[in-house]
């Protein structure tokens, strides 16, 4: 809610001219979401400070479409008190002229670099001090940041995502204002209004002269445009065109090539292993249980061996994304007929699962509570009863190798458990025995001599062939 800009340039009170706000008055500014005021707590020849204070209409804020949409989040929130996109709007309204670099009375001063300090008491920052440095250091700022605690009474709750921030630099007023205008919402990683094409133009306008040479321009564009990839790409293309020299261009292309040549990811190894196994068992139809956004489905569809492919997920939102990602609506009819996507759950019997020869369950079981695993076994092994079942899950032992993963922590926030190789194999062997499957295990990813692979895979094959022979030897049916 508060932003102060100070200068020690002499006479410091010239700041009033630069900002077009007389230090001796309090200046109200009307905004669509409340009021802003500009006043000067200090105004001497040595030091002059202009403070912009924002009074956001807290109730009006949620009367419209809140960003979260659900829950109480939008009603009890920090927006009135922190530096956010509301602030960028207020800067543009209160210091509009200064932001364009113009000054009615002191144009020369406006064009010169002067020592300036911006102080913001509460800045939400997703990305911490690292991000603050990444964004402001290349622009020459001296950064003082202090992280604020969540609640002094509950130190266990840890620190907040807020910083008290002080930025000092010798720049033009216009520069400081543009930097703040663009980078405050980037730190917050949010916007209070719809982001569309117009936002790209705003970014380019206020980033003119500094953004294209900023090493973090990718992060800045992405966050400023709320992670809308197509918009961010549009902005980046224009930024690059602006001043990319041939050497830089070459380097960029090289790095792209590097990306291609880098060792294939664990994810790719997983899907490759699964597809190879499916082919080895001459499977024609596959269902991906817990297909998520359809990453694996997309791969599987590329292989013509599979005439019928399905994906299920328990989350309707995720399925919508999968449909988008696979471009189901625009798929040619022939290809479209091959695939179906539907909502289902692994803890409810579902007759639709019976239509597939093979079921794959890639990195899914660890998202289920352990007491639900027996039901999952029955729905899959007993009820759906496909000929081939492939289950992959992380190998807990391997977690030691992940440097960023604290000891004892699981790899994902939603993992309810992770199994060692022995635990996984015990489970799989039991399930196989109970439901008449044979099972084999294979590693996925680089195998550590002691800890094993990062991912473990079990392939279950229905032992029906042997059974059929047995039943012919066995005596007549239907007698009791």
């Amino acid at each position: 809610m508060l932003l102060s800009i100070s200068t020690t340039h002499k006479p410091a009170t010239d700041l009033g001219y630069l900002l077009m706000k007389n230090p001796e008055n309090i200046h109200p500014v009307e905004l669509s979401f409340g009021m802003a005021h500009v006043f000067y707590p200090q105004a001497t020849d040595d030091l002059c400070t202009a403070t912009l204070v924002l009074d956001v209409d807290a109730v009006g804020l949620v009367r419209g479409k809140g960003p979260g949409g659900e829950g109480l989040e939008q009603y009890v929130n920090d927006r009135p008190y922190v530096a956010s996109s509301y602030f960028s709007v207020a800067i543009a309204r209160a210091f509009g002229t200064a932001l364009t670099g113009k000054s009615k009375y002191k144009q020369e001063l406006a064009d010169s670099k002067i020592p300036l300090t911006a102080k913001i008491p509460v800045v939400p920052c997703r990305g911490g001090e690292v991000l603050l440095n990444t964004l402001f250091a290349p622009l020459g700022y001296e950064i003082k940041a202090t992280r604020l605690p969540l609640d002094s009474q509950f130190p266990d709750w840890g620190e907040s995502r807020y910083y008290s921030l002080e930025l000092s630099n010798t720049v033009r007023v216009k520069d400081l204002l543009s930097h703040l205008y663009v980078l405050i919402p980037v730190l917050d990683d949010d916007k209070h209004y719809f982001v569309g094409q117009a936002e790209v133009e705003k970014l380019l306008k206020h980033g003119e002269g500094w953004l294209s040479s900023h090493p973090a321009k990718q992060i800045i564009s992405t966050r400023y445009l709320l992670h809308k990839r197509s918009l961010a790409q549009l902005a980046l293309d224009q930024l690059l065109e602006e001043e990319e020299d041939p050497v830089e261009k070459q380097e960029r292309q090289d790095s792209q090539e590097d990306a291609v040549e880098r060792p294939i990811s664990l994810n790719e190894q997983r899907i490759n292993a699964v597809i190879e196994t499916l082919k080895a068992h001459q499977v024609r139809s596959v269902i991906d249980l817990g297909c998520g956004e359809g990453r694996y489905l997309k791969e599987i569809l590329e292989h013509r061996e599979f005439g019928s492919v399905a994906g299920i997920d328990v989350s309707p939102r995720v399925l919508e994304k999968a449909a988008d990602r696979l471009k189901l609506e625009r798929m040619p009819e022939r290809r479209r007929e091959k695939i179906s996507l539907f909502q289902s759950s692994l803890v409810y019997k579902d007759a639709r699962l019976k239509d597939y020869e093979a079921a794959i369950c890639i990195e899914v079981i660890e998202h289920m509570d352990l007491p639900r695993i027996p039901v999952f076994e029955r729905t899959l092994f007993q009820y759906a009863h496909p000929r081939v079942i492939i289950v992959t899950t992380p190998n807990l032992e391997y977690n030691k190798k992940f440097e960023t993963l604290p000891a004892g922590k699981l790899r994902h926030g939603d993992h309810r458990f992770e199994w060692t190789r022995e635990e996984f194999q015990t489970w799989a062997n039991n399930a196989a025995r109970r439901f008449g499957y044979s099972v084999s295990f294979s590693p996925i990813g680089p195998v550590d001599e002691e800890l094993g692979p990062p991912t473990q895979m079990a392939t279950f094959v229905l032992a029906e062939a042997e059974k059929e022979v047995e039943s012919k030897i066995g005596k007549g049916n239907n007698e009791n």
């Binding site: 000067y40 200090q42 939400p124 604020l148 609640d151 509950f154 289902s344 007993q382 066995g474």
Partner: protein
């Protein structure tokens, strides 16, 4: 001529154009029962005579016939049907639906038909068409019965046609008119002594006739025995069993359906070559000692047994191997096979016995199905079906179920008469697991648009998208559904207060009830924690028996969306043990004649469940606000000391500072760290259900009373009482006192209070009223509506809030919750209980202002 057709069948009218089929159809059947090809041609082509539309027309016709038969309705097809292949297609539809087909053939001379057609202006085809049709008819008429019709009636002249009288005969299996009471008896297999003992135990009088070798059996209350078949084979006294059962059927004191062994013996007696296995040699040997006359009588008796009965208005189905819903009340070879043998998957187990298709696990029918066939170590209800074959001949028991009482009676076998292929004890091992398997839920039990009937409100609609949202929550986050016999309803706040500075005040809540004609209410202190449902059993065995869970401890504690409360399993165990010990101590189990309980509670601290929300939202906002306000103060005083007139700004923000402070105070009050059990508080306020019933019929004083015993026995360390007062709404003094009570509660930092009708389910003069209305304190509302909510600028705007949708949801969720409990205590199948609980969760995904 009298034509008797089965009440549920497919009737084909066969004859050339102009033979009088349509007139016949109109005369003898309902207009909707007759589906004519002309009509279908009209539907698809706007012209009943457009022959080019025939293919499409017949697609429609087949579809209608199929849907009618599937729904159990007679269908009459009015088309020429003169070609065998046309008839075959329709016979297939009948077969698929397991109904009989009947043909009524109009063998009317060509000349009459041609003449009739010439008189009709819309029939413009020539006589050659009729001649061709007639030729086809004649060619295939004789062999028509073999095509698969159960009856073929031939009408040879217009006079024949005029004299027809149609009679609709009930199917043999239809005994819907028969309401019992019955004693349904499991597989006997020649165990006469046990049968006799069982009948005597149930109060039947049995005497032998001196003059002929038969029995006289009757029950003084007119009850009848209903045998599920397999009277014979393996056991020692097959002829005696047959003699007794035949006597009972003759005297009208018994009914019997066929078992596979009965059929096999019948074939043997008829001289057919059948394999002498599975106890048939014993029967044959015993029968050989009987007279030829008796053997013959037995043969025709066994031959007369039908596959299954549908009884008591369709509420009861009895078949030897059980019967899935689709096949009930139908007749076909498939139905008979299912009734006799069940369905097998084609696989065999390690004993060479066929692996059975688990039809009972998938059963969702309305009728109770009682059957035998597969020996089980003990009887278990699976989705409203029960198997009574408790392996008497293998040394188990002979079991009967009394209908409609659902009471089980059994006598032990005197000895093991026959060595089972698969030892019964081995079956026992798998029994517990089997029940869980059989009761696993199906996606179709919950998905799509659903209509749920509850005793408090009929035909409640659950929208498909809400069900879809609930499926995710239920699958990913909820505890094992077998624990979930209840989810609490949402609660509506009181109507908005007009008092200055207040958004909610008790007066409106109290008036809501008195306006609806409910004059006795109870005000209960609203604890500020999280709603919790706690299930506690006497021991793990009781949990396994009543809830069907396995290795999941003595109970569970879950949130209002069914999520487990405790991350720490040890802490949950300790917590549940504590409640269990209190129940042991105060004689709770004995008093309520139960081994389990379900409690509706508030669990504190709030921070235990709301940790994430607190950190991300509440504490964050507090931290941001406090720091921003502090800095603003510094800068404003600096400006002021410079001589600037900052009064406008100060006015605007001074109140804010106070509000932020109060807000932080408000949420802090409900937070403390949980390190051990003693940091947890549980305030139970409803004793929802025990073995003795769902206690929705008791008033709240009963609930509070029953629970306070438990709380006191625990020593009030973890459990806590809920302060309350009963208010007579006719007295304005009591109303005012209740308001003061609330003011004091909230002034001391309490969340507020809940006002409920004294009766758990209350009816006012406009129908059902809200089961509870909450009235929240001024400070508490700050953490709901935001720190600044009571600023007069904001408060006025916040007063415009609609409660209609919230109240409607609260009421529907309440009705569903009560229904779930009632179904659970009535031991209905899991899917029936889950349906209601799931529906509550689905309704919770309806968008409604979360601040209400």
């Amino acid at each position: 001529m009298k034509i008797s057709i089965p009440e549920l069948s497919l009737v084909l009218l066969v004859g050339t154009s102009g033979c009088g089929k349509s007139t016949f159809g109109r005369t003898h059947f309902k207009a909707t029962e007759v589906i004519s090809s002309d009509f279908c041609r009209g539907l698809v082509a706007d012209d009943e005579n457009d022959q080019s539309a025939s293919s499409d027309a017949f697609t429609v016709l087949h579809c209608i016939v199929d849907r009618r038969l599937a729904a159990g309705r007679l269908a009459v097809v009015d088309a020429t049907n003169v070609q065998p292949e046309d008839r075959q297609a329709l016979l297939n539809v009948a077969r698929q639906n397991n109904v009989l087909a009947v043909a009524i053939v109009f063998d009317i001379s060509e000349s009459i038909c041609i003449e009739r057609n010439e008189q009709r202006p819309d029939r413009d085809f020539g006589p050659h068409v009729i001649r061709r049709q007639y030729k086809s008819l004649k060619r295939s008429m004789r062999g028509m019965k073999r095509e698969g019709f159960s009856r073929v009636f031939i009408l040879e002249s217009p006079e024949d046609v005029d004299q027809v009288e149609i009679e609709r005969a009930p199917l043999w299996n239809n005994r819907k008119y028969d309401h019992g009471p019955f004693d349904i008896i499991g597989d006997i297999h020649g165990c006469f002594d046990e049968l006799r003992e069982l009948l005597l135990k149930m109060g039947y009088h049995i005497s032998e006739c001196p003059e002929e070798p038969r029995y006289k059996v009757h029950h003084p209350e007119g009850r009848r025995a209903l045998f599920v078949g397999d009277l014979v084979d393996r056991g020692p006294k097959t002829p005696e069993v047959l003699r007794l059962v035949m006597s009972m059927l003759d005297d009208g004191t018994g009914l019997c359906v066929a078992g596979n062994h009965d059929v096999k013996l019948m074939k043997k007696l008829a001289g057919k070559n059948v394999s002498m296995t599975h106890g048939l040699p014993e029967s044959v040997e015993q029968m050989d000692k009987e007279t030829d006359e008796f053997k013959q009588k037995c043969g025709s008796f066994l031959d007369s047994l039908i596959s299954h009965y549908v009884l008591d208005d369709g509420k009861l189905v009895v078949a030897h191997a059980g019967l899935k819903e689709k096949l009930q009340g139908r007749s076909s070879a498939r139905v008979r096979d299912f009734c006799l043998y069940g369905e097998t998957t084609g696989e065999t187990d390690e004993y060479g016995l066929p692996v059975r298709y688990n039809w009972a696990g998938d059963y969702r029918g309305r009728a109770m199905v009682v059957y035998g066939h597969t020996p089980v170590p003990r009887t278990e209800w699976i989705n409203n079906t029960i198997c009574l074959d408790t392996g008497c001949v293998f040394g188990g028991n002979l079991t009967a179920m009394r209908y409609p009482e659902r009471e089980l009676v059994s006598v032990p076998a005197a000895k093991m008469y026959y060595q089972p292929v698969k030892p019964l004890e081995l079956v026992e091992d798998h029994a517990a697991r089997q029940i869980r398997d059989d009761e696993s839920l199906d996606i179709n039990d919950v998905c799509g648009k659903r209509i749920v009937n509850t005793r408090l409100q009929r035909a409640m609609t659950i929208r498909a998208e809400n069900a879809s949202a609930a499926l995710e929550v239920m699958s990913r986050f909820a505890v094992n559904p077998q624990w979930l016999a209840y989810l609490p309803p949402t609660m509506s706040p009181s109507a908005t207060s007009k008092l200055e500075g207040y958004l909610e005040y008790p007066e409106e809540a109290l008036n809501y009830f008195s306006d609806n004609g409910v004059m006795q209410v109870i005000c209960e202190e609203k604890h500020m924690g999280s709603r919790a449902v706690v299930v506690v059993c006497k021991d793990e065995e009781s949990a396994e028996k009543r809830f069907g869970v396995h290795n999941e401890g003595i109970g569970v504690c879950y949130t209002r969306t069914g999520r487990p409360f405790f991350q720490d399993a040890d802490l949950q165990r300790e917590f549940l043990e504590r409640i269990k010990s209190a129940a042991d101590e105060c004689g709770f189990w004995e008093e309520h004649n139960t081994s389990w309980m379900i409690l509706d509670c508030e669990l504190m601290p709030w921070s235990m469940k709301a940790q994430e929300l607190l950190r991300k939202q509440y504490a964050s906002t507090g931290s941001a606000a406090a720091n921003a306000m502090a800095e603003l103060n510094v800068q404003l005083s600096a400006a002021k000391s410079r001589g600037l007139d900052t009064s406008v700004l100060e006015q605007g923000f001074s109140q804010r500072k106070e509000q932020v402070h109060k807000y932080v105070e408000a949420y802090r009050r409900y937070c403390w760290n949980v390190e051990s059990l003693k940091d947890i508080k549980l305030a139970p306020f409803h004793l929802l259900a025990t073995e003795s019933g769902a206690h929705a019929d008791k008033n709240h004083l009963w609930h509070i009373g029953a629970l306070s015993k438990l709380v006191r026995a625990e020593g009030e360390e973890v459990l806590m009482l809920t302060n309350n007062r009963v208010v007579d709404l006719a007295s304005s003094d009591e109303k005012i006192a209740a308001c003061h009570w609330w003011e004091n509660l909230t002034a001391e930092g309490g969340e507020g209070m809940v006002i409920k009708p004294l009766d758990f389910v209350a009816t006012g003069h406009k129908g059902f009223v809200q089961p509870a209305v909450k009235c929240r304190g001024k400070e508490y509302l700050r953490i709901i509506y935001g720190p600044e909510y009571d600023d007069p600028r904001y408060l006025e705007r916040l007063r415009h809030r609609g409660l209609g949708h919230k109240r409607s949801l609260a009421w529907r969720e309440f009705a569903l919750g009560v229904e779930a409990l009632e179904r659970f205590v009535a031991k209905e199948p899991l899917y029936r209980v889950h349906e209601c609980v799931f529906a509550v969760l689905a309704l919770e995904s309806e968008p409604v202002d979360p601040r209400l």
